[in-house]
Amino acid sequence: MISIVDYGVGNLFSLSSSLRSIGADTIVTNDKQKILDSSAIILPGVGAFSDAQEKLRNSGLFELIKSEAEKGKKLLGICLGMQMLFEKSFEYGEYEGLGLIKGNIMPLEGKIPSELKIPHIGWNSLNFKNGKSDLFKYINEGDFVYFVHSYYGADCEESVIATSEYGIDVTAAVQKDNIYGCQFHPEKSGDVGLNILKSFCEMGDC
């Protein structure tokens, strides 16, 4: 079973629907035991980093998710959930993340040409990095996924498995061993996104 962590950040309807549609055994939960019992974890999230990390800490799930991932359980962070995997975020201050992926979350502003709009919103294509990750087993390089974000993963070269071009090579997905993250929304990326979720669920025996 796969646990979608419900810690009061964002709407999990589409994510749970998309997982159900590919036949994954899914539960939306903030129950520690259920997360411990599940074979894989998805950490979603929209909104501001500071608010999200605070909610995750207050729910008591911060340490649990970190230790489960460190023990080898498959973990997928989506959008802000991916950003939470990093060491630090510099969104409206300086905040500590889970520290599972080496790197920092930085603003796109100032890094991309000024004529490009922020947030980076819409469909962009994936360029695979550091070989082809097993997360992309069922998709091809150049496939399109849906992004909505104003901050991005930086200083994380060794973990980057895909980038998208938006003035610069923006980190689109990361992986370190059993820990995965997508800046884009697979649950909003049509068949390509469903195929990414499918490969994650298979790896997590869900």
Partner: protein
Amino acid sequence: MITKRIIPCLDVKNGRVVKGVNFSGLSDVSSPVELAEYYSKAGADELVFYDITASFEGRELFTDILTEVASKIFIPLTVGGGINSLDDFDRVLKCGADKVSVNSGAIKNPGLIREASLKYGDQCVVLSCDVKRVDGGFRLFAKGGREDTGINAIEWIKQGVSNGAGEIVVNSIDTDGVKNGFDIEMLQAVCEVVNVPVIASGGAGCSEDFIKLFNSIPTIDAGLAASIFHFGEVEINDLKKLLKDNNINVRL
């Protein structure tokens, strides 16, 4: 590279799509769920559902349908129509909408955009405007384009963005329904003053109108249309292939 988006808009009244006709292979052309699936398969980059129901019962039907669509279709969904309060935002977001479009609701309550963007994030709040030329300027209209508000549309849009609107839909009353192309002049004027995505609406009559739109205004992000897609005059996949042949970057 980021792509230009093509967005069909579905008007829903009492749970049924209005004007949804002329599709072979669809058993029920006025079913929002069937049409949404059809458009998703045809390559739509996003869907807009516009609730034109007036009654409370109709609103309930709409949210039921939205829930069904959102559980089957995994591309971004925007919902508009009758959004006047944070409760309205909440109601449609819980059913799986990703973005909420406000129009008259923001005119009645100018604080709504700020409140909603603080609560749900800028990316969630779409400001939709009906704009018409009056006395040589661009004027904001309310109530589906029936009422002149006297407000300068360009100023209104600038203010909306600074209050937290994450996207702007500009519907030109002057070109809407005429099918003679998008209102390039008006859209250009909007694109010059904002740095959030701008979606063009009103006037698309054929595929060439989209080519002209994206070539004339490189900073425009998306083209929205209803009847040319509903009536099968333009197939979304054919349109996107044509755009690509014209060096306009699209998702195929």
